[in-house]
């Protein structure tokens, strides 16, 4: 009986995933996307995280930020995390993205600290502890009917594992709409890159 309770408690503490069938799906109230394959979805600080093989291997995150929002949340009231501003150019969005990653990175291990540590919310994964962050190929890209942008990035995880990603977004009605696909450079990034690209191409802006 005690064992059963422990197992139930353990399961209760895990992230809850639901199936995302291959169909059109709303992302917040501003746009929708269509997937060609089934994904699994979890809620991550109010944002949608989609994955096929698990978020540490590859994940697609849908981020919507208002003016003044941070990409990560922290329990430390004194922390100065970079804030998104509605007037930003894509060049500044890239700076904001990289500075945000750096602000929650720095260690070589995360298991020892909990008190006072920055807790990523919008993007919350054990793999966020980036070093050697590199951004390339910032270029214009249509986000549905909106002018948008995209860029490629790579970084080393806390274990020294190379990760690669694509960010695709637009600023609309003062909000940053951003989709971030990332995965291990070895195998998983490439494995679902085309599925992520299909989702990027399927954006339909609602209003």
């Amino acid at each position: 009986m005690i064992l059963l309770l422990i197992v139930l408690l353990f399961i209760g503490g895990c992230t809850q995933y639901t199936a995302v069938p291959a169909e059109r799906r709303a992302i917040g109230s501003l746009y929708s996307v269509k997937s060609n394959v089934a994904w699994s979805q979890a809620d991550e600080g109010g944002m949608q995280l989609w994955t096929i093989d698990g978020p540490l291997l590859e994940a697609l995150r849908f981020v919507t930020l208002n003016d003044g929002d941070t990409l990560f949340q922290t329990s430390d009231k004194e922390a100065k995390l970079p804030r998104f501003r509605a007037h930003m150019t894509p060049t500044e969005v890239v700076e904001f993205f990289v500075a945000s990653l750096k602000s929650v990175s720095g260690g070589v291990d995360t298991h020892q600290l909990s008190k006072g540590m920055v807790q990523p919310a919008q993007i919350r994964a054990g793999s966020i502890n980036a070093a050697s962050i590199d951004v390339k190929n910032l270029r214009p890209a249509d986000f549905g009917r909106l002018p948008g942008f995209r860029f490629d990035f790579s970084y080393l995880s806390k274990e020294g594992l190379e990760r690669q990603g694509i960010a695709f977004g637009s600023i609309h009605e003062g909000k940053l709409l951003l989709m971030v696909y990332s995965g291990t450079r070895e195998y998983y990034f490439d494995k679902h890159k085309q599925d992520a690209e299909a989702i990027f191409s399927s954006v339909e802006v609602v209003k």
């Binding site: 922290t74 430390d76 100065k80 540590m117 050697s132 910032l138």
Partner: protein
């Protein structure tokens, strides 16, 4: 008379023996670590070393290590200048992190963060900080602290405390790296002792004594400007007081008279860090402690002379801070950088962004065009061209 002589000789012998045996620091403190010494396998110190060895093995695979052979060799030379005997026992890791920190784990694992190297103005200042850290190692301060804490809590609680204690404000997650070295705050007495030994070793190696108090004073000024959230992680584990800075100044005044010439090593130092300085400045301005970064950049401009690179990054701090008048301030700094000649190409791009924000489309377009002219193979060429087309 003979009896008096015996007593005098006896007293002199006692005085001699006492002077030999009296260790530095607190009574009951362990002896200094000897060269090549490893703790006895059955000792509590061996457990501490084993723990640090395990953490050091993780540090070896960190993506933050600066592996450049020339820079690593240069740092090793400085460590060997200040302690030629023990430097072979030290493993030095340069960690790419824009905060001021250096640490020395009890097993000989030394970390030097790039934020410290950016801030040191010459070899003497870096040598003093490294000498200070070596003193913690030689005097086995971590072991002393461990034994003190262990008496009042379990070993598990000790390690949790050790890592949590280093977490401060914005640099919370940096604490994990700091924890590899100074596993938690040293006592003020230990700091005074490390100051004293660090000072002695740097002066013995001919480094200019006044540089010791200078680097602490500069860091304190930067910390005060940056506010609570920008508090240096180094000061979190190394409590620094104005009293200690004053003591170092007094020591420097006395010692400086002993010799007519000392080495600051500014030129050698700046040449050694030159290939990395732009990247370190980039990391510095993007870490978000804008007021502290301004103090630092203005100090570097004063001590190292006008340079397009420093004015560009000062402009970046204003642009990123984005408070009232910061666009004008940023533009003024970018223009100074352009006037000085040989500016980084990014000056044009940032100037374009600022002009755009200030509602000056023509200047913005010209600046973006200047960026592409300076940097025709820029990876963000397409987006810059899209800005230019929109501004035509």
């Amino acid at each position: 008379m003979k009896r008096v002589k015996i007593i005098v000789v006896f007293l002199l012998l006692c005085a001699f023996c006492l002077s030999c045996a009296t260790p530095r620091g607190t009574p009951g403190a362990p002896d200094d670590i000897h060269p090549s010494q490893r703790p006895d396998i059955s000792s509590d110190e061996a457990g501490l070393w084993m723990y640090m060895d395990r953490i050091e093995s993780r540090l070896k695979t960190s993506g933050r290590l600066v592996t450049d052979p020339a820079l690593n060799t240069y740092l090793r030379q400085i460590v060997c200048n200040i302690d030629p005997v023990r430097c072979q026992d030290i493993r030095i890791y340069i960690v790419d992190t824009p905060h001021f920190n250096a640490s020395m784990a009890p097993n000989g694992c030394m970390q030097v963060w790039t934020g410290l190297m950016l801030r040191a103005e010459n070899e003497a200042q870096l040598a003093y900080v490294l000498g200070h850290e070596m003193a913690h190692y030689v005097r086995r301060h971590t072991l002393q602290q461990w034994r003190t804490v262990r008496n009042t809590s379990s070993a598990l609680a000790f390690f949790s405390l050790a890592t949590a204690a280093a977490g401060v404000g914005f640099v919370g997650s940096m604490a994990q790296l700091a924890a590899l070295g100074a596993i938690f705050a040293y006592s003020r007495d230990q700091e005074r002792e490390a100051d004293e030994i660090g000072f002695e070793t740097m002066a013995k190696a001919d480094y200019e004594p006044v540089q010791a108090s200078q680097i602490w004073g500069d860091l304190l000024a930067e910390d005060e400007a940056g506010g609570k959230s920008a508090k240096s992680i180094f000061f979190a584990t190394h409590p620094t007081t104005t009293e200690r800075i004053a003591t170092l100044k007094t020591l420097a005044d006395k010692t400086a008279k002993e010799r007519s010439s000392w080495t600051a090593g500014q030129e050698t130092y700046l040449n050694a860090i030159k290939p990395f300085r732009k990247e370190w400045l980039h990391e510095e301005v993007h870490k978000g402690s804008y007021n502290g970064s301004m103090v630092l950049l203005n100090r570097l401009l004063k001590s190292q002379g006008d340079s397009a690179e420093l004015h560009f990054f000062l402009g970046e701090v204003y642009r990123l801070r984005g408070e009232k008048d910061d666009c004008e301030n940023a533009r003024a700094e970018y223009q100074k950088a352009l006037q000085l000649g040989n500016p980084p190409p990014e000056v044009y791009r940032s100037l374009g962004v600022v002009c755009l924000r200030m509602g000056e489309p023509q200047q913005a377009r010209e600046s973006f065009e200047g960026y592409l002219k300076m940097n025709p193979d820029a990876s963000d060429r397409q987006i810059i061209e899209s800005y230019i087309n929109r501004l035509r």
